[in-house]
């Protein structure tokens, strides 16, 4: 039972890091990033390949993930963020997940493709159990750190300016603010964090295959952010908990139902898709602020 709880909390924690990354991009700055799963995958592979195949220490692997995440974000941001309309970033990021997956699957010489790579534990001298606890503690510490940093950043002139940009971009321009510069910087910070979460995710799951990175993960996080409340760091962390509760809960629901009525795994997946879809359709219209949101949509 405790092993299950540890596992669930770790997963919630990784989602929380992703939600915090989306919050600073969307909640604070108004950037429509639909490529979260792409950055997650980049981080996971950028960590695992050097660590598993070249024997790098975990710290170096995480650094590699973070740097690569920011590096990929830069040209994407440059291409789409400088444009007046935010849709271009949305469209471009929607494609990222698919492109990253294609690269992973196709470049087998590098990524082992669909065969997958085993991800070594961070503390191989200790038991698997100890490693799980360690991961949980690590994730929780990182959440606390990122939360603290982002809250601090949010109240600083940097934070004020990016919120002003979300509020009224042209007004910010008329006051001399480099709108594109701020946006690209925020996009890169968020991408770096998402990639870092990807590295942790790789260790948490223990075995890396491209199929882990389903496009729907991006929309799980969006749901967490919208329900928790755009612009509120504690809101999106709460949203992540709700998300995991819902995901795990839907699994239990299936087990509770009597034999004849229980939906198959495939049907559960479809129902989950419909539920997330319905949430993303209705919540922005009827409950745009969510729990603690500071932003009208």
């Amino acid at each position: 039972m405790t092993a299950y709880l540890v596992s669930m909390l770790t997963e919630a924690g990784i989602y929380a890091l992703l939600a915090l990354s989306l919050n600073i991009q969307w909640g604070y700055t108004g950037l429509q990033n639909f490529g979260l799963v792409g950055f997650l995958a980049i981080g996971a592979y950028a960590y695992t390949l050097p660590v598993a195949l070249l024997g790098w220490p975990p710290i170096a692997g995480i650094l590699c993930a973070v740097v690569l995440g920011a590096a990929v974000a830069y040209p994407m941001g440059l291409a789409s963020i400088r444009l007046r309309v935010g849709f271009y970033l949305a469209i471009v990021t929607l494609g990222l997940g698919e492109v990253v997956r294609s690269v992973i699957v196709n470049e087998q010489w590098l990524t082992q493709g669909t065969r997958g790579i085993a991800v070594p534990m961070m503390l191989p001298e200790l038991s698997a159990r100890a490693n799980q606890y360690f991961m949980l503690v690590l994730v929780l510490c990182l959440i606390a750190l990122v939360f603290f940093l982002f809250e601090r950043l949010g109240k600083s002139p940097f934070g004020r300016t990016i919120e002003a940009i979300r509020d009224n971009e042209d007004a910010a321009r008329s006051l001399g603010k480099s709108v594109a510069g701020f946006k690209i910087r925020v996009f890169m910070i968020g991408a770096a964090l998402a990639a870092g979460a990807g590295a942790l995710d790789a260790v948490y799951v223990g075995y890396l295959v491209p199929d882990q990175f389903l496009p729907i993960i991006t929309f799980y996080i969006w749901m967490a952010v919208i329900i928790g409340g755009s612009g509120s760091n504690r809101g999106v962390v709460t949203g992540s908990l709700i998300l995991v509760f819902f995901l795990e809960g839907s699994r239990f629901l299936k087990d509770l139902l009597p034999m004849g009525y229980a939906p198959s795994d495939a049907q559960m997946a479809s129902l989950r898709l419909m539920a997330i879809g319905l949430a993303l359709t209705l919540v922005p219209i009827y409950w745009p602020r969510g729990l603690w949101g500071r932003k009208e949509f």
Binding site: L83, A90, G277
Partner: protein, 288 residues
């Protein structure tokens, strides 16, 4: 050389599909001011509609095709009336909502129809040979049908009153309204045409390949790339860009792995945004 010609010929059909999707996306963008991420699902609905009609009711091909298109239009207009019309003044919200709708529809389709692939029962025709190039009559039929659909849309846009009104609203919404154009009628007509074209594309695609819940979604990124390449809001740009992109994709996959099909479209998209964001037919100021 043979492979090249083969790729070009297949590329015409591929391009026609992308063109039809891009056309729908750009038409809706013209009046609603947001890119409809759920557009792919209307292609899928068209495909399944035609399939159910043909496989379950044994209706003839033409009837099944029309049924598929009508089903797309019906579901799409329902979505417009129930959802998108309410948020007409909030395009940012509309984008997110269209993503939600896309997920919901895909989930619904996979729940109803299952996740597996199904195949349309098409009569088998022998391939024609021109030199060492194989031409499938089915491909030709689909290409011709697609080009006819595109041509009809062009005629509607150019010569009917509703078509002219649609273009006016897309060019300058405030001016169009003061000019006495009934914007609600134009909205509905635009959506209907975009949906019909997508649905038909779905029925044609169904004749050619496997039908599965993700089929529309898989075409979405190339369709967006084409719409942007052509210039968002420009129907002729979308058509031209779609054909070009379809051809380019097929030629490119002679050298790079077929898995990179979509990635190719992605690279084209980024390139367009870096070089000329307003697209080929670009008019408005997009960059800053």
């Amino acid at each position: 050389m043979v492979l090249f010609v083969q790729a070009l010929l297949n590329g015409i059909t591929n391009g026609a599909f992308i063109a039809m999707m891009a056309l729908g996306i750009t038409l809706v963008f013209g009046v609603a001011r947001f890119p409809n991420v759920a557009h792919g699902e209307f292609l899928t609905i068209g495909a399944y509609g035609a399939y159910w009609c043909a496989a379950l009711v044994h209706a003839p091909l033409a009837v099944a095709t029309v049924f598929g298109a009508l089903l797309s239009i019906a579901v799409g207009l329902l979505a417009y009336v129930l959802v998108f019309r309410r948020i007409a003044d909030r395009p940012v919200t509309a984008l997110l909502v269209s993503i939600g709708l896309s997920l919901f529809l895909r989930g619904l389709i996979s729940l109803v129809a299952g996740n597996g692939q199904v195949f349309y029962d098409m009569p088998l025709w022998r391939a024609w040979r021109v030199g060492s190039v194989r031409i499938l009559p089915l491909e030709v039929g689909i290409a011709v049908a697609s080009l006819i659909v595109i041509l009809i849309t062009h005629l509607i846009l150019k010569h009917t009153r509703i078509g002219i009104e649609m273009r006016a609203v897309s060019d300058n919404p405030t001016l169009a309204r003061t000019g006495g154009i009934n914007s609600e009628r134009v909205n509905r007509a635009t959506w209907a045409i975009a949906l019909g074209v997508a649905g038909l594309a779905g029925t044609f695609l169904a004749a050619k390949t496997a039908i599965m819940p993700d089929m529309g979604w898989n075409l979405l990124l190339p369709a967006f790339a084409a719409a942007v390449l052509g210039g968002l809001g420009s129907p002729y740009g979308a058509i031209g860009a779609g054909l070009i992109l379809g051809l380019a994709q097929n030629v490119a996959t002679l050298w790079i792995s077929d898995i990179y099909r979509t990635s190719f479209a992605f690279v084209v998209l980024i390139a367009v945004l870096l070089i000329k964001p307003s697209g080929l037919a670009g008019k408005g100021e997009v960059a800053r």
